[in-house]
């Protein structure tokens, strides 16, 4: 049994992005989704700072301090890109023009509640940013995260313990162990990694799980992490 690394989780989420979609990718794990879009999927990536059509990261020699995404990464623009100001960018989000927001999370609850903005770190201030707007107003919210915490505790829960980002917003969760849909009846497992069984996945999950009748193995391609991240 081999859990997915963060690039493989991003790859799996990317397989569900349809041709022509407008997508927002959160900071951290989600931005890697852009690297694994299906061939032929023509996608516009929106960033909260007003860039519509984020391209690959800029080569160091072409990096421009004014051409950045919401995570301060120096980027390029794709063909057909546009740049708008912040109030318009958030009107795009609230107005329902983002097909999918893919966000990182600390916790997701069985009713789709999302907690991803405040870990209550002592001595550190809050960081809300655009997370609440995206979680509340994107047409679909998908989450990418590790299935359990570093201490081994569950992140998929009956009820979130951390402050909420938005209520009942998450539709699908991609983890290093499984793909789980949030349905009106709770969490439905669509895929899980080879070697994992239902009892084992339940033991690592803090909410009731139902397994889809056609639950499939989650089999990513081999994708190597950068050397510095390998354990």
């Amino acid at each position: 049994m081999k859990p997915l690394n963060r690039l493989q989780i991003a790859w799996r989420a990317a397989q569900d992005i349809g041709d022509g979609m407008v997508v927002n990718l959160g900071m951290g794990m989600p931005v890697a989704v852009a690297d694994y879009l299906r061939p032929g999927a023509d996608v516009f990536i929106h960033s909260e700072n007003g860039v519509i059509g984020v391209g690959p990261l800029a080569a160091p020699e072409h990096a421009d301090t004014d051409l950045v995404d919401a995570g301060s990464r120096r980027i390029t623009l794709r063909r057909g890109a546009a740049i708008i100001d912040s109030s318009w960018s958030f009107a795009v989000i609230r107005g329902g023009h983002i097909d999918v927001a893919i966000l990182g999370a600390f916790e997701v609850a069985a009713n789709g509640d999302l907690a991803n903005w405040d870990m209550r770190l002592p001595g550190k201030g809050p960081l809300i940013g655009g997370a609440m707007d995206l979680a509340s107003c994107a047409c679909a919210v998908w989450v990418i995260m590790d299935h359990v915490t570093r201490a081994g505790g569950p992140r998929l829960l009956e009820t979130c313990t951390l402050p909420l980002t938005a209520v009942g917003c998450v539709r699908r969760v991609y983890t290093d162990l499984a793909v789980v849909d949030i349905t009106p009846a709770g969490m439905l497992v669509r895929e899980m990694i080879e070697g994992m069984d239902e009892a084992e996945l339940r033991a690592r999950t803090g909410a009731a799980l139902t397994f889809a009748p056609d639950c499939r193995p989650l089999t990513p391609p081999p994708l190597e992490l950068p050397v510095a991240e390998r354990r």
Partner: protein
């Protein structure tokens, strides 16, 4: 008299800023920080400032210099977490209770400023319903959804970074430099823009991203 909004330097453009001012500062994601004006405001040393700024601390912004100098009474922002494990200057003062914090969703922040500049007193947004930042605020149902009542923000001064200006105060921005600049300029009584260059000829109308009627003072600071 022909209109000419050019000032010779950042200190001259901020010479009349008073204690207690509410100050918007543009910039987000590493672009559009008016760092020349921020430093001049620190040197001006007006006290008890309320900063309305996306990030209380950002590694490419000099906002922290105003905070370290003890000039700031309150920060209104969307992100108050400093880089790294050690508390930032803002976090130290916030924990000590010497600086007040109002932190909110970024779209709510932008829209409250937009409302302030557009003559709208308050509005209902779906963002934040059921979360801590919305606690105590009026919630009202329209159709199938609940919305939180949010009020407009206005201010005394906006510091904005743009790429080019003309003597009329028209501004043009590079790439993602725009971010909060235009909307902040609509909501402040006095708007000071720092730009890479002031052009001799007017900016062609189709390239004007913020019309000069919003901008009071222009300072060229270079790249």
């Amino acid at each position: 008299m022909p209109i000419d909004k050019r000032f010779g330097s950042a200190p001259e453009a901020l010479a009349d800023i008073a204690d207690g001012a509410t100050v918007f500062i543009s910039g987000f994601g590493g672009a559009g920080f008016p760092n020349g004006l921020i430093r001049a405001l620190r040197d001006r040393a007006a006290r008890d400032l309320t900063l309305v700024v996306n990030s209380a601390t950002h590694r490419y912004s000099l906002t922290h210099e105003l905070i370290e100098a003890g000039l700031v009474r309150k920060v209104v922002c969307t992100a108050a977490r400093g880089q790294g494990r050690e508390p930032s200057a803002f976090e130290r003062q916030w924990m000590a209770g010497t600086i007040e914090l109002e932190c909110m969703p970024q779209g709510t922040f932008a829209e409250r400023i937009r409302a302030g500049g557009a003559g709208i007193a308050a509005f209902y947004t779906p963002v934040g319903v059921g979360t801590e930042p919305a606690q105590g605020k009026e919630v009202r149902r329209f159709g199938k959804r609940e919305y939180v009542l949010e009020q407009a923000i206005t201010g005394d001064l906006a510091l904005v970074r743009a790429d080019t200006a003309d003597r009329y105060g028209n501004l043009s921005f590079r790439y993602a430099q725009m971010n909060f600049g235009p909307v902040m300029a609509t909501a402040a009584a006095c708007v000071v823009a720092e730009v890479r260059a002031v052009l001799d000829e007017p900016i062609p109308h189709e390239r004007v991203q913020l019309p000069g009627l919003y901008v009071d003072r222009i300072v060229a600071v270079g790249a």
